[in-house]
């Protein structure tokens, strides 16, 4: 959402707590869906050779592993970035430039 959408959404939320809750739930669902789209696209490249009559068990296992490793990778990246920031604040240096 852009800022005008989010501000109007906040306005609606102020009117009705039910609506506020609804917006929060739908936003979370949408975030989930977006990540599923992204991972499907990414994992398709890694796991799908020639599309056959059905999704064989090897390919299915590959997709599951792919999802797990993608999340592991993003967690690893975040953790490492946090550690790096503690010892050597890279971003604040570049920001001050």
């Amino acid at each position: 959402m852009d800022s005008s959408s989010s501000s109007s959404a906040a306005g609606l939320g102020a009117v009705d707590p039910q609506l506020q809750h609804f917006i929060e739930v739908e936003t979370q669902k949408q975030r989930f869906q977006q990540l599923v789209h992204q991972m499907t696209e990414l994992c398709w490249e890694k796991c799908m050779d020639k599309p056959g009559p059905k999704l064989d068990s090897r390919a299915e296992a590959c997709f599951v592993n792919c999802v797990e490793r993608f999340i592991d990778t993003s967690q690893f990246i975040l953790n490492r970035l946090e550690q790096t920031q503690k010892s050597k604040p890279v971003f604040s240096e570049s920001l001050s430039d």
């Binding site: 609506l19 991972m39 398709w44 796991c47 599309p51 999704l55 299915e60 997709f63 797990e68």
Partner: protein
């Protein structure tokens, strides 16, 4: 979200917001957006998988390939969705 979303809200002209109606409309629009996104990505993936050098029309083997590709992409989407959901459940359980 697109501009049409705004007009949906103001459409009645009564000036009174019906939360139930708004929620229903939002759900429909989100579902449409998701379907469009899936279709767009699937089209891109299946074109890349099934079309070599583009000919004068889609030949039989290309059509069969695209059909299987579509089905497999849907399978992949479902598998990824289940795996991701399962991962989220595990992460929450460990909190």
């Amino acid at each position: 979200m697109e501009g049409g979303f705004g007009s949906d809200f103001g459409g009645s002209g009564s000036g009174k917001l019906d939360p139930g109606l708004i929620m229903e409309q939002v759900k429909v629009q989100i579902a449409v957006a998701n379907a469009q996104e899936l279709l767009q990505r699937m089209t891109d993936k299946c074109f890349r998988k099934c079309i070599g050098k583009p000919g004068g029309s889609l030949d039989n083997s290309e059509q069969k390939c695209i059909a299987m590709c579509m089905d497999r992409y849907m399978d992949a989407w479902n598998t990824v969705s289940r795996a991701y959901n399962s991962r989220l459940q595990r992460e929450r359980a460990n909190m």
